[in-house]
């Protein structure tokens, strides 16, 4: 974790942007890991605007903030940025803006601490003492930052071959070692993520981070013909037989993940979206390493072998949209026949598919993480 502290006179916007870039460059060059910014008072507004242009920060601590509407709008457009607001309730000039900045953030970990009579800005650290019920401010902020930055591990680019010659490209994310809230010691359970037909691994940007923060090793791939896995062509140029063989991509991903020493190869889960769900099932048949499958919309078994596998004891989380009646009925039929004690089915209203449900139902990704935690760990 690396933290840049901004205070004082914001100066001109270009100058502040340059100061922030320089500070973040220095921290990044030192290999300091995910970056956070602490800003106080009148510099907060300019700092938010500057960070919204340069990116790179993953968490923002606002002390007694002055934040205008434009900066609040930017915070609202940045769901990946966690925001912690800290202010004194008696600091009437700053409490409204600090609270508004917190409320503008859509990040699940954003938070607010309001003290009374503790002063303003960084001076609050000296005044905000520990009580029997709560730690001192510096400990509060440090704990919050550790949790906010835990998902932002460095992604390791990987590639591996399938049995039919495709070179599959992906990102491997391993949970960070260390004290709480870190994962327990030992090899981590693994999850393979398989996107849908029009998309690629980027649809799992948030889910992959939630999983790694929960202690899973995550392999997020582009399957054949999509994203950067195009050595033998692009997906829409392939025949239906070539596409259907993408179960080999899922199997190769399972093999690659399980081969890593950091991963417990006997505890693997897969998340597949529409076509990705088909490939997840096809690639998992008969593989006892696979403890659970999340099939997110658009899946129907292609043959008896898939139906038999899904009703033989593997745990499955089925997610379907109510407007897709044939798909929902097919999933329900499998669900009803499943002996798995943890197999579940969720039907959401409307006709959204795959990653669209993540936007419409923000509880869904955390629910997937919880289910995988119960089934795969």
């Amino acid at each position: 974790m690396a933290v840049a502290v901004l205070d004082g006179d914001p100066g001109d916007p270009d100058g502040l942007r340059a100061r922030i870039d320089e500070a973040l460059d220095g921290l990044a060059a030192a290999g300091a890991g995910p970056l956070a910014v602490v800003a106080e008072g009148e510099v907060v507004d300019a700092a938010v605007r500057a960070l919204a242009a340069v990116g790179r920060a993953r968490a923002l601590v606002l002390l007694s903030a002055v934040v205008g509407e434009g900066a609040r709008t930017l915070i609202g457009e940045w769901p990946e940025l966690a925001v912690l607001g800290v202010v004194d309730s008696l600091d009437r000039d700053r409490v409204g803006d600090t609270v508004a900045a917190y409320l503008a953030s859509g990040h699940a970990h954003s938070d607010l601490h309001v003290g009374e009579g503790v002063g303003s800005g960084s001076a609050m650290f000296g005044s905000w003492s520990a009580t029997p019920d709560a730690p001192a401010l510096d400990a509060l902020v440090e704990t919050w930052l550790a949790t906010a930055l835990a998902p932002w591990v460095e992604a390791e680019p990987v590639s591996f071959q399938t049995v039919d010659g495709w070179r599959i490209s992906g990102d491997l994310l391993l949970p960070a070692p260390g004290p709480a809230p870190g994962p327990p010691p030992g090899p981590a359970p693994g999850v393979v993520l398989l996107h849908s037909g029009r998309s690629d691994r980027d649809i799992f940007s948030r889910l992959s981070r939630l999983l790694v923060a929960a202690g899973f090793a995550v392999l997020n791939v582009d399957w054949r013909g999509r994203g950067r896995s195009t050595n033998l062509g692009t997906y829409f140029e392939l025949t239906s037989e070539q596409r259907a063989a993408a179960g080999h991509d899922a199997r190769a991903a399972i093999d690659h993940l399980a081969s890593r020493p950091e991963v417990d190869g006997a505890r693997i889960g897969l998340v597949g979206v529409v076509h990705g769900a088909e490939y997840a099932v096809r690639g998992s048949i008969g593989d006892e390493r696979v403890r659970g499958l999340v099939l997110l919309t658009g899946y129907r078994p292609a043959d008896e072998a898939e139906s038999e596998y899904l009703t033989s004891g593997v745990e499955v989380l089925y997610v379907s949209s109510a407007a897709h009646r044939p798909i929902t009925e097919a999933m329900r039929e499998l669900y009803d026949r499943s002996p798995g004690r943890r197999t579940r089915m969720i039907v959401v209203p409307g006709g959204a598919i795959g990653y669209q449900l993540f936007e419409l139902q923000p509880w869904l990704e955390p629910a997937i993480v919880s289910w995988l935690d119960e089934v795969v760990r």
Partner: protein
Amino acid sequence: MTAGGAVTFAAADGTPVHGDVVRPEGAVRAGAVLVHASKHERDAYGVSLPQLLVDDGFAVLRIDVRGRGESREPVPFPLMAPLQRRAVALDVAAAVDFLAGPDAGIAAGSVAVVSEQDSSGPALAARPGHPVAAHVVISGRLDAGAREGLDGLAVPVLALVSTEDRRAVGDVTELYLASGDERSRLRVVRGMGFGTTMFSAWQFAHPSEPTMEESIAAWLTGVL
């Protein structure tokens, strides 16, 4: 359809934008820039819509917006901050100007922009040298940049959205009402999802009706 091939050009801030262009074999009467959502790439519009447009005399440019597809480097879209994402407007502006360039044979003011989901905000905020003649917005989301230009929006707009996409329902309705052109249309469907994924969902659910691509092409041909 005549294959025009792969193209690369620079946005106003120097960011390279990759895409492909197809032109009709005969005279070009208009142009269309197709802009995908951030979860997709330029193949999101499939083959049908580009083919229908080319058959109607349109030159069609599909682009990969910054951070996606061939335009992925240096910063992938999921890692971008808000102002970096709003800068997709520069990609769209550059695309319109590229398509309507001096050798394109397209009359000034004859280029439409088709956008989906979170690309619609930047598409509406784009300020190319050649003015945009019409917008097709599929499950569009408006951002602050798009809202700045809504007052006095004089070009026709076709807005498509499905009811469960509540945010887009509000945003495209606001866009439709802001358009002063009587040729603007708002089409609200049910249970079809978001963006270009609605194309196949609609065709599956309504096999005997015109496809969404046919409706879009017909509307564009009517207004341009």
